[in-house]
Amino acid sequence: MIRKRIFRSFVFLMIGFSLVACDKTPPNGNNNNNSKAPVTGTLEVEFRIPGSFLPPNRVLRADLSVAVDAEHLYKGHFFYVANVYNNKLMYQITLKPGNYYYQAGIVCIAGGDSCSAAGFPGGQFGVKWAIGTAQVNANEITHVVPQFTQ
């Protein structure tokens, strides 16, 4: 009887160990419960190139940058600069909720005085800028379309 009890106790003990070993829940690694992902929103920029009398592919996207306020934007202290492409229209930027300033630039590469006639300062390789603000809210997509002067 005693042997049976000892054997049963041993079996129960081993089952207990095996259940503990099967627990895949990671232990709390002293992160003070800060493992939550930061709350973010999305700024979606529809980077359209305005139509003009210039031939196609003579006005290209040049820049898309985001700053925390107007002063940083003016000084060129951006916290995000996007890689812009000819074939990409929509640019999505994940940000903390808040108000942001963005700038978008288009460059004219046409020859002659076409760029000057189209209002690009300095003629060929001149850049037009569009600046705006956007309010980014948590778990939302804020859609903006930069507007360039003609």
Partner: protein
């Protein structure tokens, strides 16, 4: 006593028919003695040879060197000068593995004639002769550097044409030849050679390169080069850091090919390749992109020399030369140089955890991180 007589010795082997029985018996006795001596001699000689040869533990596993010609020629359509490298195989024993061979053991002596032919409509329309030159510096390494001979010819390579390369080696009385078809033009879409468009390569921010497929291409590779100034003790030196990307295979029926350049890898390579130097000041200048494509022969050659992944340990090295070994193919390239990096990338290089000890200046041209904006 029989060996002392020349006549009898001859008679042993040329027995005349007119001899009598006494003479024949005498000759038989002589033959028996000679056979006896010969058998003994053969047994002693054989045993001695076996004993002596069995004492040697060295086995010569190398076959005699046959001086096989090896030719490399990659036609470059972006250059007006083409080069051919001609060498020969050599044999080096284990004891000399750390000692570079003599330069003479790599080159064929005597007359060498190398010519390149462009064919159109089944006949040659242009022939160019190559001349030896020593003006290409060779990197240091196992092979001799004091005499690095290649052959060069001034010729502009046309796209989508068939070329033949002939190599005549008088010393071996052999003609090697190979054929290739040159590639089409390479057109890069991204990045454009546009200084107003900044390149952002940060942790989490990648750059996507795009280019149009090249006709006859077998393989593509992109490389980027970070150009920077390094100032140590008041002395400024222009330096660069090359970051070749992995190969891209051509895909049919597609308008554009793409290769993503990882921003995280970009920062990691800078931290791995550059060493912190006390007092050093580094300033990023710009970034160059290199788009290189090679013919199918280059693809096969690279695949044949790549490490084996399967059970087949040793793969045969690809060669498209007749009567020799080597590679004759063509390449095309497009370089986009001097693109500027985005301010955020400059700040990342200056202050990221991986690279903040390398002395890079931020986008303001200083090391003051208080005026750097972050959304973190």
């Amino acid at each position: 006593m029989f060996f002392g007589s020349d006549n009898l010795f001859l008679r042993v082997f040329l027995v005349p028919f007119e001899w009598n029985c006494e003479e024949i018996k005498l000759v038989d006795m002589a033959n028996g003695l000679i056979r006896n001596y010969l058998y003994k001699g053969i047994i002693i000689l054989g045993t001695t040879c076996m004993v002596l040869s069995s004492c040697s533990t060295e086995i010569d596993i190398n076959a005699p060197n046959q001086n096989v010609p090896i030719v490399y020629c990659i036609l470059n359509d972006a250059d007006s000068v083409q080069y051919v490298r001609l060498q020969k195989t050599y044999l080096v024993d284990q004891a000399a593995i750390s000692t570079p061979p003599e330069a003479d053991s790599l080159y064929f002596p005597g007359e060498i004639q190398i010519s390149l032919e462009r064919w159109e409509n089944g006949r040659p329309v242009q022939t160019v002769q190559f001349e030896p030159t020593y003006d290409v510096p060779k990197d240091s390494g196992f092979f001799p550097v004091e005499k690095h001979m290649v052959y060069k010819a001034h010729v502009k390579i046309l796209p989508m044409k068939t070329y033949y390369l002939y190599v005549y080696i008088k010393d071996k009385e052999e003609v090697l030849f190979a054929e290739t078809t040159t590639l089409g033009h390479m057109t890069v879409t991204d990045p454009l050679d546009l200084k107003q468009r900044k390149i952002a390569l940060n942790i989490g921010e990648n750059y996507i390169c795009r280019w149009q497929p090249v006709e006859n291409a077998g393989i593509y590779q992109i490389g980027i080069r970070l150009n920077y100034l390094e100032t140590v003790d008041g002395v400024t030196v222009a330096k660069s850091l090359d970051m070749p990307q992995s190969f891209t295979n051509p895909v049919t029926n597609i308008d554009y090919l793409t290769r993503v350049i990882s921003g995280s890898r970009f920062i990691h390579i800078i931290s791995e390749q550059l060493k912190p130097i006390p007092g050093v000041v580094r300033e990023v200048q710009n970034l160059d992109f290199y788009f290189i494509t090679g013919g199918k022969e280059i693809k096969y050659y690279i695949e044949s020399t790549a490490p084996s992944e399967g059970a087949l340990i040793e793969k045969p090295v690809y060669s498209n030369f007749n009567n020799g070994l080597g590679l004759f193919s063509s390449s095309a390239r497009a370089d986009i140089k001097g693109l500027y990096l985005a301010n955020t990338t400059l700040d990342s290089i200056a202050y990221s955890q991986l690279t903040n000890n390398l002395g890079f200046l931020d986008h303001n041209g200083d090391r003051d991180s208080s005026n750097i904006c972050s959304n973190q």
